[in-house]
């Protein structure tokens, strides 16, 4: 039996889920995985306000140093969140040769490289399954399930709040505000949902996925990020008619030793499995070689889903208890000479919508502008001669570099026949 002393830092929603789950599964973990986890110390700065029943033999403290300084603690489970002091706590734990399990995506996205080097140097493990998709094993499938594969692209629906809002707007015709309020009422969205709806939460997670799938530590500022606040019912309904649906996708591709990385609302075919990933479900779609395309989906948030990820990390730790940590620390094996493709050079298809005068010659003027920037037109939908003076025009373009498209968009906006600010949404042709 491997007896493992755990120091838990942060006793909020996820932390209390982990304690509950370890208790529920105690016998099962001993029988199946030969592992006995004992929470030796629980540190939380508001520990006196928390319900700590059932933690009788555990030292309860406000001071996380009690965890770091205890030589008998084998693994630090960091669930306090936030960049500081969580990062410093992980650094010190690793320096002291303690293993670390964390759900802190901000720290892994910002300091993954440093932490992994430290883990390797000090012969410690660093596990972080819950950082992306909660317990849906998105980290594990890249590093372990598809071990030996190389990846050329990944597409993630990795923010449950945004996916819930877009689903509610699409299926239940809710307004953005109603959908957000509903998400908050059901406990899916934070009271301050800014990081969710502006896309930055997805960006942090994408940075982690890129480091694992492509072997490149990418700074979050190098990931183009656009949230979902601009999505309107008009666009959802036009998309529907084109057999498309709008998802907030985190996208990364590796082409010619350059990585492009972006988070933005994206139109995809309703026939693609990602289009069926609704509500708070998250999904990761991977283009792997030689395996081909892989889809993994599950709930990406919630107390027990996150606790499940932490538990699987603890089990992996126990399963490698006497193993060679150097292999596992190779999870991040940095690939040399990989560059970043700036967003201006990224090519995508676009959906473009605006109101235009219902006059002859409108389309030829639009086609002229796009043609000048070498942007091909895939289709145009214009409800002509409706009796109204302006009509909606929907253009789907061929692949075009973002920089040229932006220039064309400015020119279109300036045309006198264009009567509303053009809306542009990127499209992805998934296999």
């Amino acid at each position: 039996m491997n007896k493992i002393n755990v120091g838990l830092i942060g006793y909020g929603v996820v932390g209390s889920g982990v304690v509950k789950l370890l208790k529920q599964r105690e016998e099962y973990l001993q029988n199946k995985f030969n592992a006995q986890f004992f929470i030796k110390t629980l540190a939380d700065r508001s520990i006196h306000k928390k319900d700590t029943r059932g933690l009788g033999r555990t030292l309860l403290t406000k001071d996380y140093r009690k965890v770091l300084e205890d030589p008998e603690i084998d693994v630090v489970v960091e669930l306090m969140g936030g960049l500081h002091p969580a990062k410093e706590i992980m650094i010190e734990a690793l320096k002291r040769g303690k293993h670390v399990v964390t759900a802190n995506k901000a720290v892994i996205a910002a300091a993954g490289k440093e932490l992994f080097q430290l883990a390797k140097k000090h012969n410690a493990h660093l596990y972080f399954e819950s950082c992306v998709g909660a317990g849906t094993p998105m980290i594990n499938i890249i590093t372990d399930g598809l071990a030996g594969n190389k990846f050329s692209a990944l597409y993630g629906i990795i923010n449950g709040t945004c996916n819930f809002i877009l689903t509610a707007m699409t299926k239940n015709k809710m307004s953005f505000g109603q959908a957000l309020a509903e998400a908050q009422k059901r406990g899916f969205a934070e009271s301050n949902p800014t990081l969710d709806i502006n896309g930055m939460d997805s960006t942090h997670k994408l940075a982690i996925l890129i480091s694992l799938a492509f072997g490149k530590f990418i700074h979050v500022k190098d990931i183009y990020t656009e949230g979902i606040t601009q999505i309107s019912h008009d666009d959802i309904e036009h998309a529907e008619k084109l057999n498309l649906t709008i998802k907030l996708l985190a996208i990364a591709k590796k082409v010619n030793r350059k990585i492009e990385a972006r988070v933005h609302p994206t139109l995809i075919s309703k026939d693609h499995p990602l289009a069926s990933i609704n509500n708070v479900y998250n999904a990761l779609y991977l283009e792997a070689r030689p395996m081909g395309d892989i889809l993994l989906s599950g709930e990406g948030a919630g107390q027990m889903a996150a606790a499940s990820g932490v538990l699987s990390d603890l089990i992996h730790l126990a399963s490698n208890w006497k193993g060679d940590t150097s292999l596992l620390s190779n999870i991040y094996s940095e690939v040399k000479n990989l560059g970043i493709r700036p967003i201006g050079q990224v090519k995508t298809k676009y959906y473009l919508r605006f109101m235009a005068s219902d006059k002859p010659g409108t389309l030829s003027k639009l086609a002229g502008v796009l043609g000048r920037y070498k942007i091909g037109i895939n289709s145009v939908t214009q409800k002509a001669h409706s009796g109204k003076s302006t009509v909606p025009v929907i253009i789907l373009t061929d692949d075009a570099p973002e920089r040229l498209f932006r220039l064309a968009l400015q020119k279109i906006d300036q045309l006198s026949i264009v009567k509303s600010k053009p809306v542009a949404i990127r499209m992805e042709n998934l296999n």
Copy 2:
């Protein structure tokens, strides 16, 4: 560097894919996983007919005993297929303390328990990712990605040939025969596709998934199996109108310490992600606690997809090279006192279709028969007064035990108002 001597038995499509992949990834495997795989011996009974270029330092032989009897061979990769002598080869390899990697679902389904006990006894590993879904990590997600979770139900699309045929019949209006011929032309179906289309291939795979997810070794004869040969365009089209689609599902559920296991064509909502899994893609949908519902999908057949699964097995072996095999052999931890629910006691909803006289009183007679067997009716569709003397009737029932439904079906078949043999297809209400 872990130098691992491999003995490969069976050099067909998958075997040559593995050799190719090991060569392609040689440097990558050394750098990332600290592993060097050397194919010391390659045994195939038709080795003289095979293209063995690039295997210069490998001993080529017709005799698989050369692999088993070589004390320097660490791992036997069994890719010959078939029950015998593959099973005996694996047994002897494990008895000699050699690790085994196999893609042989028939052997694992039939003799998994025996092989796992042997592996544990002799401190050897047994890996078999490619047995289900080729390299789509369906084994790994149950045993590893979701470690610590318990499972209450699983739904698999785990035969690419059947899924290809059903997709071609649904999307391209092909007949069953045309779709099968197309699958064979594209190399997805065997020249003798019996085991695919009669469902038995899915049954073997389901037995393996059940042993992993529920800890119960189930005999394939205890899995109710029905293939796809009876599916007609009429049913596909009626289903479409009801927003349903037909998939060959492998289903297992654990309720009250009894397992129900079945493979049959199943109607599911078109809104469910499994309904979007088309062509040769496979998928596994798991109900896990505490994680919730998980979907994993990828190509379930093909040379390199299968080779990818074998490579990931070899990497897992290398990563645990100095580790504790006892933990990993616990992959099958048998749960005591789990029974099998016979198909007669299994409850499902049914779709029932037949031609009936277009006369008043028809529906009340049908409802009378179903009522006598306590089978609730969810909906009835009858195109009445079409001018023809018979009309199609579609009934969707509530949950009913198979035994009672079969009795009711006999009675309905005998009604004078029923003018065609009733077709019954089970339905599943997935979340």
